[in-house]
Symmetry: C2
Subunit: 196 residues, 2 copies
């Protein structure tokens, strides 16, 4: 690490502020709905710098998504596959604490179809681990590994995915603790862990 001059430090700080502001804007409004001017303003910075540092709006969006993705992957590197319900609950908590992150991912899913290297590698790795556990007989193998992982993600996200109308219908049962325990139970059942 070369020591940074004060100018460089300031520059980095500005970039961080821009990224944070962009994250906020994009998770709220998506790519098409986001306004470059608002991002600059929110960052207490200047629009020009966005184009200098990040190229254009789309590239900024991609950088923001990529960073959030990496952060999430880093936060959940280890715990697979012998405690899938535990992993699901961990992800559930992550999601509950950061609904904005998932909003951002949905926007990307709708507005930009492409999928990054990091992401592909991550999925391949996790699916491979589950498949390995299945071959070793440590996990029920009736449902293929990739399906199992897809369902796990589906269950974990089901509440934020569901319309508010459904949440309303849940009434008292909609507290976070109860939802968490249901997620654990559901994933245990799907993965066959509850019978093991």
């Amino acid at each position: 690490m070369t020591p940074l001059t004060s100018k460089q430090r300031q520059s980095r700080a500005t970039q961080e502020r821009l990224l944070a502001a962009a994250f906020e804007e994009f998770q709220l409004h998506g790519l098409a709905g986001a306004r470059v001017d608002r991002i600059a303003e929110r960052a207490k910075s200047n629009k020009r710098l966005i184009y200098i540092y990040f190229g254009n709006k789309e590239q900024l969006f991609d950088v923001v998504v990529q960073r959030s993705l990496e952060k999430m992957i880093d936060a959940h590197a280890v715990p697979l596959p012998d405690d899938l319900p535990g992993y699901a609950v961990e992800l559930f908590d992550y999601l509950e604490e950061r609904p904005e992150v998932f909003r951002l991912f949905w926007w990307r899913h709708l507005e930009r179809r492409d999928t990054s290297e990091v992401e592909q590698a991550n999925y391949r790795d996790k699916v491979a681990r589950i498949a390995e556990a299945q071959r070793a007989g440590r996990l029920d193998a009736k449902i293929p590994a990739a399906h199992l992982f897809a369902f796990l993600l589906g269950v974990v996200q089901s509440w934020s995915l569901a319309s508010d109308a459904l949440r309303d219908a849940a009434g008292e049962d909609a507290t976070r603790d109860r939802r968490r325990e249901s997620v654990r139970e559901a994933v245990a059942r799907v993965t066959g862990t509850s019978m093991g």
Copy 2:
């Protein structure tokens, strides 16, 4: 039904073309990304008529969403709650045939938070039926009814929700038939139907 004049019939036809074009535009680009000009063009009609018939872009969006929602609810009115896996598979097929419909719903979820009467009633009804079956002992009651239904929807949507990266990781297992059977099995496990 009053008999329609030819003018009225033509007017209705124009409205239908506008709605169809709007559906296409909105499911592709969302509310913010949609272009009123493109909708008019696609409908081989005129922009002005959109404002006459539907008010403005947002109201048009709401009408389009509402219609799709009602169509979907009508298509799946009956089959709950004693064969939840069957219901899930039916929904799964509906989704596979009409991914655009779900894209539209996701856009709405991100871009407009409100939730319609029809939708609320629909959820309340379905959750109530499941709860009833639980009370009657026909269905495992460890997971609350609303949670069960949320998970069912999560599992059904998990594939279209998942990043393409995960689909890639599934390889040969990603055929629709195999995915359908996994959905059936997963929902059976979550709802406890497989043990019954």
